[in-house]
């Protein structure tokens, strides 16, 4: 049992040295509708999409909109924001909902669908690929460097 406690301590020390992976938002637009702010830091954006907030300060319910596995940009977005694969990102959210600790996100197949959904739903915040041209300026959330 002492040996296993030692192994556990070593693994804990190793894992706590793992540096937090900074999110690279250069390839991504964040869009939001009536979420109470129009700029945010990469760290805050990542926390939002991991479910840290369920209501905005303006009392609107947080509705997270993500690309589904069918989306051609899902891999980039999952890697840049969640530091995970698409499957891991889906599993993360499925577990959160299954535990009763999060509102289920909306998964959509294309950037256009995400833009349309966010535009129609107050409180929605979504991720799209930066090269998507037709993004209403009123929805764009600026990422502070």
């Amino acid at each position: 049992m002492r040996i296993f406690n030692l192994i556990l301590i070593i693994f804990c020390l190793y894992t706590l040295q793992v540096k937090g992976q900074g999110s690279d938002t250069e390839q991504i637009h964040v869009i939001g509708n009536r979420i109470g702010f129009n700029q945010s830091s990469p760290k805050e954006i990542k926390e939002i999409f991991k479910g840290k907030e369920t209501y905005w300060k303006n009392k609107e319910q947080v509705i997270i909109v993500l690309p589904s596995a069918k989306s051609e940009h899902a891999t980039i977005i999952a890697k840049d924001i969640f530091a995970m694969s698409v499957a891991a990102m889906q599993k993360y959210w499925l577990q959160m909902v299954f535990q009763g600790r999060g509102n289920p996100p909306v998964f959509l197949s294309t950037d256009k669908e995400i833009i349309d959904y966010v535009a129609k739903n107050p409180g929605a915040i979504g991720l799209i690929y930066r090269k998507e041209k037709e993004v209403p300026a009123s929805l764009l959330i600026k990422i502070k460097s």
Partner: protein, 362 residues
Amino acid sequence: MYYKKIGYHYIIYFLFFLLSQNIVNSQTLPIQFNGYGHVEYIVDRSSGKTNSYFSLGEHDFFVRANINKRISFLGEFVLRFNSNSPTTFLPSIERSLVRFALDSKNAIIGGKVHTPVNYWNDSYHHGRVFFPVIERPFAFSYFVPLHTLGIQAQGQNLGPLNFGYDLMVGNGINSTDFSSKTFIPAVMASFHFKPVEGARIEMGYYFNRMAENGYSTHSGHSLTPLLTMDKVYKGALDYHLLTGSVAYFGNHIEILNELCYNASQTDTLGLANNISNFTYLGIRIKEKHIPYILVDYIKTAANDLHVYPMEMIKMSVGYRYEFDYLVNLKVQFEYQVRNTSGFISDFKDGIFGGRIQLAYGF
């Protein structure tokens, strides 16, 4: 009994109605419906006898719905094997709760929940596809009250370390989902924080003053192997449970340690001190491959009148392959030693075996 049969039938009919009417809308998600299940193949050898067989695991239907902007419902209904049933399967309501969000981080929950006393019971419910290993630790068969029906205050993601709390009062271990024979409810409190991404450290405490020692269907409690209910102590018992959890699930390494200290006090034999510890270490290779080891240990005292004396240890080497986030295959080789000793039961054996589990969700 007739009334209960009618109630379960309505649950099944309601779930099929939801599916047939396509009420689940993949874009707006007013109601989310998921299903989970598992099948296993088991080979074990004990006392010179070898058994091998397939086993159909419990099947789990999960429903979650936003009733309005503040209130949501979550339900989990399970079908599992039961030899007392004419069809050998019986349904049950494992979770049924209504959550009222006070604000972004705090909520009040009423209903039947997985007692949020430690990381495992809060995170893993009845869908085996989420389990890192094939089955629950020993503590969940003997110490931890799996479910509690009551009212809960919950907070999460508070402050820079993502502090969280769960405070609950509810029906105790020897009660049902319908009534209880005691005036005093069970109480519990747990606190956790998340120091880094993927990690959670938690401590919990549960207390139940039982006017009459016993075990309800959903308490998760069992007796020492080979002990029978007719020999069990039926007097008053104070039940304390202290838990500590350390969990880290990262992109490369997975660690989970669940420590439980249980003290049960009776006027007959005094204070009995019991302990269990579960340790899991996994390494994720190329995303889908996770070899792992686990050690699970439990020991109950010679004067314990709730679980009764025993000592068990299980050591396993396993491998998990994740086809997808909804399907995985686990293979486990394990050696388990069981030893019960005391004034009622005296039994010792070792079991060597292997298990394969296909767990799935949809």
